[in-house]
């Protein structure tokens, strides 16, 4: 257990250092998409939510597996999709002759 724990600690610290270095001077425009992308990455907690099923054998355990997998899948899937939607703004600029109104925004009455 102890050697394993030390390995884990090593990996953790090195990953932290990579995390500190991996993003650098980001333009403010990319702050939100970047946050959303990082948010999607921690959706990998889905892997952990699946693995606890290996030892789950009580009703309480099953309930925890169900809620944890639902939460984690929502985090991962939703996170990637919404990030991609944000990043569509960087499509190569087309000279649109007329503004078409096929925007994705149809939901939500804006008046509040």
């Amino acid at each position: 257990m102890v050697p394993g724990a030390l390995d884990d600690l090593t990996v953790f610290l090195l990953s932290l250092l990579v995390g500190f270095e991996v993003i650098s001077r980001v333009p403010a425009t990319l702050h939100t998409p970047l946050m959303s992308a990082a948010n999607a990455i921690h959706g990998v907690v889905l892997v952990g939510a699946m693995l606890i099923a290996v030892t789950a054998d009580t009703p309480a355990g099953y309930a925890l597996v169900l809620v944890a997998t639902a939460f984690a899948a929502m985090n991962a899937v939703g996170g990637y999709v919404v990030t991609d939607r944000m990043l569509q703004m960087f499509r190569a600029p087309r000279r649109a002759d007329a503004p078409d109104r096929t925007g994705t925004d149809t939901g939500g009455g804006g008046d509040r």
């Binding site: 500190f20 993003i23 980001v26 948010n39 921690h42 889905l46 099953y62 925890l64 929502m74 925004d105």
Partner: protein, 471 residues
């Protein structure tokens, strides 16, 4: 080490590489989308190979399988539906919601392993119990805090900071409860009761801390909670001995921390001051000469249209009111009409225009506004004194000259220098306050004209007026 073990390790390594490289590609607009797709591919591989592990383990009961499949389907459905259908204006609260469920999942993993293996008679090592404690506390705080942040951004909870009496003492007490419960857990005699107390206290702490923070600081708070969830996921990795979670969690924790710092710097606010809360409740708000409503000059559509149509240069300042009214298309149409007449148009975008950095760019891009016309604050500020008209649509605090003076709640926040333009036309629904809850001195400036209407209605009317009056 079996062949499966080796394969799993290699796939996890590949997935971790995808996450790191994908995040790095997000540094630049040109490669950002590819980076996100690469990271999604890594996620996919990690999940598939995890399925192989639990198949090989052979200990998952039929009920367990049902729970995995059902949970994944529910989560995927909810995530897809929300991410696809929610309006772009509601994006920040959606990210916060996804962050909340991620933190919740991490905390549940710790809960499960403690209830199954921990406790006084359990077999968890001290190291694992420590990891459980950190996982549950950080994950739970991220869960409840992100939910409150999401509700604030959505407007379900008032944006003003909620400052309870004795706030500091209450928070310290709740934190002390967490520490004591954690002590019971680590020392052994705690068991499920100590765990329950710890979870409840952590839930309360997340709510209390975020409630005390003003709405304008929510982007920074969401980013910080995002980093917290990352750390919680890494701790969950320690609990179940899974390197994939440790790598991805630490990666998000650290990069999220850096990003939080970048965001706070963009708003010129120290993170510590934000966390202490209370931003947007200054007493200085009352110190406006004349009070709101007096000294304000209004303007109608025809007049405003003439000023815009005969200007040489117009700088448009979009803000949250534009986003809330979903009026970005109307704005772009008006801008195109003016451009056809030879008016030079620029969009001045404050780092936190909308509700988050980059939020406004997304909304404008969706309305097909050319990327080249979106100008960042530092670049456009020196140009306001050469603009004939600054057209402010639904932006408030980011244009308030009071920020240049010390002693106001927004002092020191970088603002757009719209008051240096020859004429300022402000489209606004009412003379109400912005997110910081203070009066805007710009509105009583002699060169400012207020056009009090909903952004969508106002911009359509302006477009019509430009067409009919000046053809």
């Amino acid at each position: 080490m079996s062949a499966l073990d080796i394969a799993v390790r290699l796939v996890y390594l590949a997935a971790a590489t995808c996450f790191v490289v994908g995040l790095h590609l997000m540094n630049s607009p040109a490669t950002a989308r590819r980076g996100n797709l690469l990271s999604a591919a890594g996620m996919w591989a990690a999940v598939v190979v995890t399925l192989a592990i639990i198949l090989a383990s052979g200990t998952v009961t039929p009920v367990g399988w049902t729970m995995i499949v059902l949970g994944t389907l529910i989560g995927t459905g909810a995530g897809l539906y929300a991410a696809r259908r929610v309006a772009m204006t509601a994006m920040p609260q959606l990210v916060s919601l996804f962050n909340a469920v991620g933190g919740g999942a991490a905390a549940l993993i710790g809960l499960h392993d403690y209830l199954r293996f921990g406790g006084p008679a359990g077999e968890l090592t001290a190291a694992a119990t420590t990891a459980v404690t950190l996982d549950v506390v950080i994950g739970t705080v991220a869960f409840s805090g992100s939910l409150v942040a999401s509700a604030k951004l959505q407007g379900w909870v008032a944006g003003q900071p909620l400052l309870l009496p004795l706030r500091g003492a209450v928070n310290a007490l709740v934190a002390a409860v967490i520490v004591v419960a954690a002590g019971f857990l680590l020392a052994g005699p705690g068991g499920a009761l100590a765990l329950l107390v710890m979870v409840l206290a952590a839930l309360a702490l997340g709510v209390l801390v975020v409630l005390a923070i003003g709405g304008a600081d929510m982007p920074v708070v969401v980013s910080l909670l995002n980093a917290c969830t990352g750390v919680a996921v890494a701790m969950a990795g320690f609990v179940i001995g899974n390197s994939m979670l440790i790598i991805a969690g630490a990666l998000v924790g650290a990069s999220g921390g850096i990003l939080t710092k970048l965001m706070a710097d963009a708003m010129n606010r120290p993170i510590r001051a934000i966390l202490v809360g209370g931003y947007g409740t200054g007493d200085a708000a009352a110190a406006l000469p004349g009070g709101a409503g007096e000294g304000v000059r209004t303007i109608d559509a025809d007049d405003a249209a003439i000023r815009l149509a005969y200007a040489g240069r117009v700088i448009i300042v979009p803000g949250y009111g534009l986003a809330a009214a979903q009026a970005q298309h109307e704005l772009h149409e008006l801008a195109e009409l003016l451009e056809e007449r030879g008016v030079r148009i620029d969009y001045a975008i404050h780092p936190v225009a909308g509700r988050m950095p980059g939020h406004m760019n997304v909304l404008l891009a969706e309305a097909k506004v050319p990327y080249a016309q979106m100008r960042e604050m530092d670049e456009i500020n020196p140009e306001f004194n050469r603009a004939d008209v600054a057209l402010v649509v639904g932006a408030n605090d980011v244009t308030n000259p009071a920020a240049r003076r010390p002693g106001t709640p927004i002092s020191g926040m970088p603002i757009l220098d719209v008051d240096r333009a020859e004429t300022v036309i402000v489209v606004k629904r009412s003379l109400g306050h912005g997110y910081a809850g203070i009066d805007n001195e710009l509105y009583t400036d002699p060169r400012t004209r207020m056009y009090l209407a909903d952004a969508k209605t106002a911009l359509s009317a302006l477009g019509t007026a430009v067409k009919t009056l000046v053809g």
